[in-house]
């Protein structure tokens, strides 16, 4: 038997084995992409550039964290982009009453949308994709109605500060995203809410028979996802220095789901990989950055993106032992 037993291998020098790649494929792909850029892209390994990448990816990470939770319950939330727009539209309307009330209104809107989604899924029993499709379509319309279709320049220094300020040299947006990632990881692994969510995603019937509050948890998950999306909308607005409900967050649902799935969380629910999700978002960000920096035309860029996604996920895919 040439193969070493796992116990023996543990002692030996660790080389990346297929199993290793499977578990850490996203991280490896991120590393490879960073390496590639370090060598082939001018001015890549500068503080300013890394900062740009992190700042740009932060809103995606925040949305993807919520999405990961939803996907963990075998659901999906298409309405996140519209929620971002809704949050953006609400900000200028309530900034007059102070930054805090504007923020609260924006987040509350996210919570309401999440509650509606959650109720449609958990109580009415709709399939998540149609339940959230309604607000995907209607949410942005509502945002545009609220904003009268207009882009509004934001001047509130407090809000703008969220987008531009640093704390200890780290941009506030990045800090928030980082803290949220840790928080969500904590919630998933260390709280009853998190463990119940995963169990419900894994086997809803069994979870119900084990007395878990299935409906409550599901609604809670969609609310969390909505609030996170709203927060992302606020931060993106602050970064843009304008409230732009017409384009803010378009295709965000796809980016977020992609980050989650590339990060190794199965769409079939029952597990949530938080760090993987963060790295999934980072991978997609770096990929886009690489293609832009090398000034590939859109056609080539899209095809290259397709190939790289496939390769990254192929390497990291779940292999069936047989």
């Amino acid at each position: 038997m040439a193969e070493l037993s796992p116990a023996v291998r543990r002692g030996a020098v660790r080389l990346p084995t297929p199993a290793w790649f499977q578990a850490y494929g996203v991280y490896a792909a991120v590393a490879v992409l960073v390496l590639f850029n370090a060598v082939f892209t001018d001015h890549f390994l500068t503080g300013a550039n890394l900062r740009t990448q992190l700042v740009q990816v932060a809103p995606v990470v925040i949305v993807a964290l919520g999405m990961a939770l939803v996907i963990g319950t075998e659901g999906v939330d298409l309405s996140v982009g519209s929620v971002m727009a809704l949050a953006a539209a609400l900000l200028p309307l309530y900034l007059g009453y102070g930054l805090l009330s504007a923020l609260l209104m924006a987040l509350a809107a996210g919570a309401v949308v999440g509650a509606v989604n959650g109720t449609l899924v958990a109580v009415v029993g709709l399939q998540p994709i149609v339940a959230t499709l309604a607000l995907f379509v209607g949410g942005r319309g509502l945002a545009l109605v609220l904003a009268d279709g207009q882009l509004k320049q934001i001047a509130n220094p407090g809000l703008l500060g969220l987008g531009t300020d640093d704390v200890l040299g780290v941009p506030v947006v990045v800090l928030i995203a980082g803290v949220l990632a840790l928080l969500v990881a904590g919630v998933v692994h260390r709280t009853t809410f998190g463990r119940r969510l995963v169990a419900i995603g894994g086997n809803r019937a069994a979870a119900g028979l084990a007395g878990l509050p299935v409906k409550r948890v599901l609604i809670g998950v969609y609310v969390v996802c909505g609030v996170l999306a709203a927060l992302a909308g606020v931060l993106a607005t602050a970064r843009l220095t304008a409230s732009d409900p017409s384009t803010l967050g378009t295709l965000m649902e796809l980016s977020a789901i992609t980050a989650v799935v590339v990060g190794g969380t199965p769409l079939t629910g029952g597990s949530v990989r938080v760090l993987g999700t963060v790295c999934g978002a980072l991978l997609m960000q770096l990929l886009r950055a690489t293609l832009v920096k090398h000034d590939l035309p859109d056609s080539t860029a899209q095809m290259a993106q397709a190939v790289i996604i496939l390769v990254a996920v192929y390497v990291a895919r779940e292999r069936r032992s047989r």
Binding site: H43, F44, G149, L240, T247, A289, V292, K293, D295, S299
Partner: protein, 336 residues
Amino acid sequence: KEEGSGSASPSSSEGAQVVQSPTAAADASGSGCTLQTYGASKLDLKDAVVGFSQSEKEANPFRIAETQSIKDEAAKLGVKKLLTTNAQSQLPKQISDIQDMLAQGAQLLIVAPLNSGGLEPALRAAAAKHVPVITIDRKINATACKDYVAFLGSDFVEQGKRAADQMIKVTGGKGKVAILLGASGNNVTTDRTKGFVDQIKAQAPGLEIVAQQTGEFARDKGQQVMEQLIQANPGITAVYAENDEMGLGAVTALKAAGKKPGEDVKIVSIDGTRNAVQALANGQYNGVIESNPRFGPLAFATAQKFFAGEAIPEDVIISDREYDASNAKNSLSGAY
């Protein structure tokens, strides 16, 4: 006659459209589309049902101003009923929009096409009912006076060319330019790129185009792409944005990167929205080529002339204004 007499009811408000070509002389020559050749029947707009098909959401200044101008003019003329639809950027929806309006009895159609190609079925349906179609702001690949009456609008290639001229002026013909492209596959993007690139090549070989990346006509995408480009090419000295929104996104990106937009990096864009002209007035911008969206008066005037039996030329090209540092402050009220 002075230029612009083509507009029958010159609007008192600032920023009204002015026809650039055909000039009055060409107009008088009588070549063009008439009621007889088109095969439509006479109509008094006051008793008419008019349909307007908008292509994209009224969620940017251009579309808002365009739709509003059509609505205002219809109200002003006392049109019996104005139907409006919005294709929400989906071509199939625009086709069904137009067909739906025909089914609801529209007798004149004003269409802002989403794309140069692909409206065939809608045009056929209109032709079957002998309903005249006037297209505004984008030209379509179809036969004038058969599939549609006339095209009213700007020349996008020309806009790109004029943007290049302004760029050459503000940069002195030297430096590195990044282009923020519009949405891929869109013929506005194609034309504005072609006009700009060709003119730069011909007139200012010293201006090197170092990057062409799409910002999808959106401010946040423009900002994100600019943030990437400025890191990769710190030597960029100029930005050509194919619409104002992306240009304004670039302003934010440049500021964040510690550059002074308007000084360290020159910015020229197309559209003429109020925000862009304001930025120009503030010195963060270097030039804006207008693309005038106020089609209401011109469209209805053209229709009236058409129904009155006059010949309408295939292309009615409006003259777009230019904003630069010198006129920005004064023209602000005319921007949309």
